[in-house]
Every structure is written in C-alpha cells, then in structure tokens.
C-alpha cells in the first residue's frame, strides 16, 4: 500500500509535474516579513490565542508563537495570520 502510494506520488510530481505540496497535500507556509503568515493546506485550528496559533496539517501540528495575533481570514484551504511572529515550529506549543 505504501509502495503504491509512493509510486503514485512520484508519478504526480515527476510525470505530471504537479507541485509537491499539491501532489502530496503538504502544508505551504508563506512568511511575509515577520508580521504576516499565509498557510495553505491546513486541516483545522488546534489552538488560537493572541500569542500562539497551532494548526493541524498533513505533516502534524504547526505552531506559530508571537504577539498580537489576529486571523485575518480563515477558509477551508487558506489561513492568513497577522501579528508579530517570533517562532514557527512543529508539534505542540511546548516543543521548541
């Protein structure tokens, strides 16, 4: 099963030349300066406070720490965060 999935993924990224994040449903983070973060392919919000945002993705949870967070928009696919971003890491809020 894993082999099939791996082959199918390789076909999509190699032969069809699809972007990797689309082919493998990976999260795509775009950081504009230190005060705006766009995150695609998220699976939902695990935690949202003014200092922390934890988002579930296909590769696990991604946490963003900072200050004055405000979700400018959040849809089924795209999440746009505003605020001073200090740190981005995988896992729970405690993981550094």
């Amino acid at each position: 099963m894993n082999l099939e999935r791996s082959l199918w993924t390789k076909l999509k990224t190699g032969a069809l030349q699809l972007p990797r994040e689309v082919a493998q449903d990976l999260p795509q983070l775009t950081l504009r300066g230190m005060d705006e973060l766009a995150l695609r392919n998220h699976k939902g919000v695990a935690r949202f406070e003014s200092t922390i945002l934890c988002v579930r993705t296909s590769i696990g949870e991604i946490c963003v720490c900072g200050e004055g967070f405000s979700l400018q928009s959040i849809g089924a696919d795209l999440l746009l965060l505003r605020g001073r971003i200090d740190r981005i890491h995988r896992g729970g809020a405690g993981n550094g």
């Binding site: 939902g44 919000v45 695990a46 935690r47 949202f48 406070e49 003014s50 967070f69 405000s70 979700l71 400018q72 928009s73 959040i74 849809g75 089924a76």
Partner: protein, 378 residues
C-alpha cells in the same frame, strides 16, 4: 485592507472552545475573517453577511452565546443614513430630479447668420418635432436634420448641436441660383449695349447671331414659342465701359508756413480742456505728440498731453501737363472701374487724355467680354 463593498457582520462569540467553533465553521464551508481572541472563551470574528444565518445555526448547535456587534457594507449602509433620513431622501430626490432634467432640451438657440430667419427656422424645427423638454439622442437629431433639409430647400446646411440642455441650431441659407439666362417664362434680353460673341440656346429661339450689335433691352433669345414657357440660354457679348476724369492745371494746395504751435491739453476720462495754445481758426497739421504724462498723485486716467502742430497756408500750385493728364487719367480709370460689373474680365483698355481749356481731360474705356443675357419680360 477590508473591502468596503463586501457586506460583513461582526460577531462576538462566547463558547467553551472557540477553536471547535472555528473548525466546525470551516467544515461547513463558512469562511471567517478578522478573528481576534478576546479572552479564553471569547472570540470576535467577521463573516460574510450571506453566511451569517449558517454560522448562527452552527453557533446554536454548539451552544455558544453570540452577539452581532457590527454590520458593514453597502447592504447595511442605509443604517448610517437613518439618523439623517431627510438628508438622504433629499439627496435621492435631487439625484432623481437631476437625472430627469439631464437629458432634456431646455432651450433652442439659432445661431445668427445671413439669410437665416430664426423664427421661421424654429417654426420649421417645431413641425419636425423639436421642442423644449424633448430628450433627443444623436441619431434622432441627425434624422431631424435630414427631414428639415428635405422639407425646406431654403437651407443648404443644418446642424443640430446639443450642448448640455441647449440645442444649438446652425443653418446656412441657400444661395439663390444665378438666373442670368436661366429663368423660364421670359425672353433673354441684352443687359447692356454690346456685340454678341457667343450664344447658346437651351430653350427658345435665338434672335441674334455672333457679331450682331445689340442695344440694351433687345431680345436675344425669344421664349415666345417655347413649349415649356420660357427662354433659356447663355449669351456672351463684348461690351464697353467708359469713365471720364479731369484735373485743372492751376490748383491750390496747403503748404506749411514753418511756424509751429504747441498745444497742451488736460485730458480726463470725461472731457478734454486745452490749457495752452488754442489753434482755433488756423489750418494746422500735427507734427508730433510729445508725451502724455500722468499727473502725480492721481490714479485716475487724467493726463497732460502736449501736441505740436504746424500751421498751414493755401498756396497756388501749377501742375505740368503730364502731371495733370496723369491725375485726370487716374480719375477716369476709377470712374470706369466703378461702372464695370464685379468679376468681369477686362479684355482691352483704351485711354484718351488731352488738355482742353486749362484742364486735363481723360477718358478711359474698358472692353470686357461678359454674359449679357438677362431674363426680360415678354
């Protein structure tokens, strides 16, 4: 930057787990905007007005307490006008009134031009449907122009030009067709004494031939037997136009005496007062105007003008015969030129100048080839 043209509802939500609310809304396809975490259990968010009923349902299902705290967008804009409803209504009424009169013609102006009677033209336009209060478009105006031109041959050009609420009418009157030799129902007669050079008969019977001498009023082409009731044709003839002039050999002219007068005038916008050097009773010629000084301290148009004159006296002048003949010839030339019809080409000029009884007398005769046939009564 929030889009001002999108209708949004701002809601304050109090729930046990705001994250759960966000995820439930996302799964239901509801997009959320401007989320702020107010406290551990409070969340403020914005939502498209169209999705507000859906979110309200979700919030009720989750048992969350919520309260709309603001509405924004064109759909809710009327709320801002509610306190000044009368002002809003006035604006709407003014807008409607402006729209109502914006396309209307409130005045019809006829551009003044020779041969165009504004009253008659306005009456004609009114017959074709041009009136105050109409809302014409370009195609309609062009159609009216065509109709007026077709209905009235008195105009060769007509333009209806709409300038805001004024309709400007520009018309050019038709130039009457030259009727020399073309008018039906008459004979063609000679306009002056001449020798016939060419004759073209379009209708009627030729009464003269090239080379015949005709006198003024003589029938050139007769329309008596024309079945359409008139003669028509072109007759060209050779005619002579003379003028006479004379000039005395002994003449009196004004010559300067050498003495000069300086006249100072006090000139105001209302009058002029001579304050020095009155030249009354003397023949003078102005030599120069020295200056016009603005009086000190006065800002009105008050000037002190100094003008220098030279006194003149009458003196006999003896002209030579050649000079007298030249002046007489010039006078005769001018007199003959005045008798020549406008636009006529002169084929030959004859000048006869001689001294007769102490005067030079001259006679100038132009020989011209011109149309001589004009309509004349039978």
């Amino acid at each position: 930057m929030a889009d001002p043209f999108v209708n949004r509802v701002r809601v304050r939500v109090r729930a046990l787990s705001p994250e759960r609310l966000i995820n439930t809304a996302l799964r239901a396809g509801v997009a959320l905007y401007d989320l702020d975490r107010e406290s551990a259990r409070e969340l403020t968010l914005s939502i498209d007005a169209a999705q507000w009923p859906q979110l309200r349902r979700i919030l009720r299902q989750l048992g969350a307490r919520f309260r709309p705290i603001g509405r924004r967008g064109p759909f809710f804009a009327w709320r801002h006008f509610q306190p000044q409803l009368w002002l809003f209504l006035c604006l709407v009424v003014c807008g409607l009134a402006l729209y109502g009169v914006s396309g209307c013609i409130l005045r019809v102006e006829v551009e003044p031009r020779d041969g165009v009677d504004p009253q008659a033209l306005l009456a004609l336009l009114e017959q074709q449907g041009v009136h105050v209060g109409m809302r014409p478009d370009g195609a309609q105006l062009r159609q009216i122009e065509s109709q007026v031109l077709a209905a009235c041959p008195d105009y060769t050009y007509l333009a209806l030009d709409r300038r805001g609420m004024v309709l400007r009418v520009r018309a050019v009157a038709a130039t009457p067709e030259p009727n020399v030799g073309r008018q039906a129902g008459t004979d063609i007669v000679a306009a002056c004494d001449a020798v016939v050079e060419q004759i073209f008969v379009y209708r009627g019977t030729a009464m003269v031939r090239p080379g015949d001498t005709v006198v003024r009023g003589q029938v050139l082409i007769s329309g008596a037997w024309s079945d359409t009731g008139g003669a028509s044709g072109d007759v060209t003839g050779r005619a002579w136009f003379s003028g006479e002039g004379s000039c005395p050999l002994q003449n009196t002219v004004l010559v300067p005496t050498g003495s000069k007068i300086v006249i100072k005038r006090f000139q105001t916008p209302w009058s002029c007062v001579i304050i020095e050097g009155d030249p009354a009773g003397e023949e003078t010629a102005r030599v120069d105007q020295t200056h016009a000084a603005l009086l000190d301290g006065l800002f009105l148009g008050v000037h002190l003008v100094t003008t220098r004159y030279e006194t003149l006296t009458q003196a006999p002048q003896r002209l030579s015969e050649a000079q007298a003949r030249s002046q007489a010839t010039q006078a005769a030339f001018d007199a003959a030129l005045q008798r020549l019809p406008l636009g006529t080409q002169v084929a030959d000029t004859a000048v006869d100048a001689r001294i007769q009884g102490g005067r030079a007398v001259a006679r100038v005769t132009f020989t011209a080839v011109l149309p001589i046939g004009v309509p004349g009564g039978r």
